[in-house]
Assembly symmetry: C2
Homo-oligomer: 230 residues x 2
């Protein structure tokens, strides 16, 4: 709806890929709805995935023994995080909905996107004990994981060789998003686009556009072990 | 035992950290046993976590539409992967045991280590359909995930706020190692070292050294859904 803000965190090297098309479809459809859409195109930004001392621009709290979690927490409070992190945190802060668009790498997100999670969702900004899970600091936001797989739907079924795909969503949806207080919409999964026809891939794009039309009416999943491991 | 080769893939920024000490303890104990031990110290190496076109040193198979999986598979066969990947693959190839030593970041490994998985364990080298899982190309090797957590053992118990810690091991142990044919030893977990006494942390180091003394007699876990989600 008009006025809603969406951040798409996108990790694919190739604009012509299905992931690239899915990202474009989302920008188009959500813009058409009157949403304001921002894209963090991680490869194009050469986004830094490594959590290092460079993320703190001034002196360290304890330079004798570097502790990334403590140092970034302290730097956040002093306003001394590196600019790329401040920029990403601003985008997250403003967003009502976060869409993560990526190809599944090793039952998880590509390292460049994991680095975005590691470096952006810092203590003080996204959580601050005991403000985690339902009282996480990013509550009142929504997240949606939209990704492509190499394996087929059958391989990712319960009893299939890769096991139920929901099992691998636990660390991303519960361990990251829910931990920060973000409510999680059902994932959007395109199975094995490399092994289907061009026509099937077009149907995948249409299905995504269709889903986005009524996305704001969706209820979040019940992000508890039962959803993942039943 | 004499002659066995071990690769420790290590991801911590601070040598004085508990992770740094756990790594040193492993090098010492395994060397004492006569093993030959190699360490990939990812932060010290400034290891590149991003999967990009730079990983292929010559022309692309299809420069019109970049596909990382296809391009690195082809480049592997031509011997045209970047040097840092060839080096890491050599270390893996020679190793009987892979130890991953890291602090848990967001229910998973730090991005720099995820990048090692994404870029080193390529098709052609670590798996090549249908050679995956029990017939993966790295069969006859062992892997062990050794990590520290922020949360306590109680928080990572079944019914605890973070859920059973075994659930988050599924993508790493099954989705990566088992997929490549590697047999998985039980994980070694040091819970919440930042919140315990110096004496407790010393006990953690002693316990790790003790375990390593009889490590080669251990049986791998049964890496199936029952182990993770029972």
């Amino acid at each position: 709806p008009p006025g809603r803000k969406v951040l798409i965190v996108y990790a694919h090297q190739e604009p012509k890929s299905l992931n690239g098309s899915l990202k474009r479809v989302a920008v188009e459809e959500l813009s058409k709805q009157g949403c304001s859409v921002t894209v963090s195109d991680l490869y194009a930004m050469h986004f830094e995935p490594r959590a290092t001392r460079n993320d703190i621009v001034d002196c360290l709290h304890n330079s004798d023994e570097f502790n990334y979690g403590v140092e970034t927490w302290e730097a956040y409070k002093r306003g001394c995080l590196s600019n790329d992190l401040i920029e990403e945190q601003k985008k997250v802060q403003e967003a009502d909905l976060l869409i993560f668009q990526f190809p599944l790498y090793w039952f998880s997100m590509p390292a460049i996107m994991k680095g975005w999670m590691d470096r952006v969702l810092l203590q003080g900004f996204a959580h601050e004990f005991p403000n985690c899970y339902d009282s996480g600091l990013l509550k009142n936001k929504l997240a949606l994981f939209s990704f492509t797989t190499g394996g087929s739907k059958e391989m990712y079924a319960k009893g299939g060789i890769n096991g139920d795909i929901r099992c691998l969503l636990w660390p991303m949806q519960h361990g990251i998003m829910h931990f920060c207080g973000v409510k999680v919409l059902a994932p959007h999964i395109c199975f094995a686009p490399e092994y289907v026809s061009e026509e099937k891939r077009k149907e995948m794009l249409i299905a995504w556009a269709q889903r986005l039309k009524t996305l704001w009416k969706e209820e979040p999943i019940n992000c508890s072990p039962e959803w993942y491991f039943k």
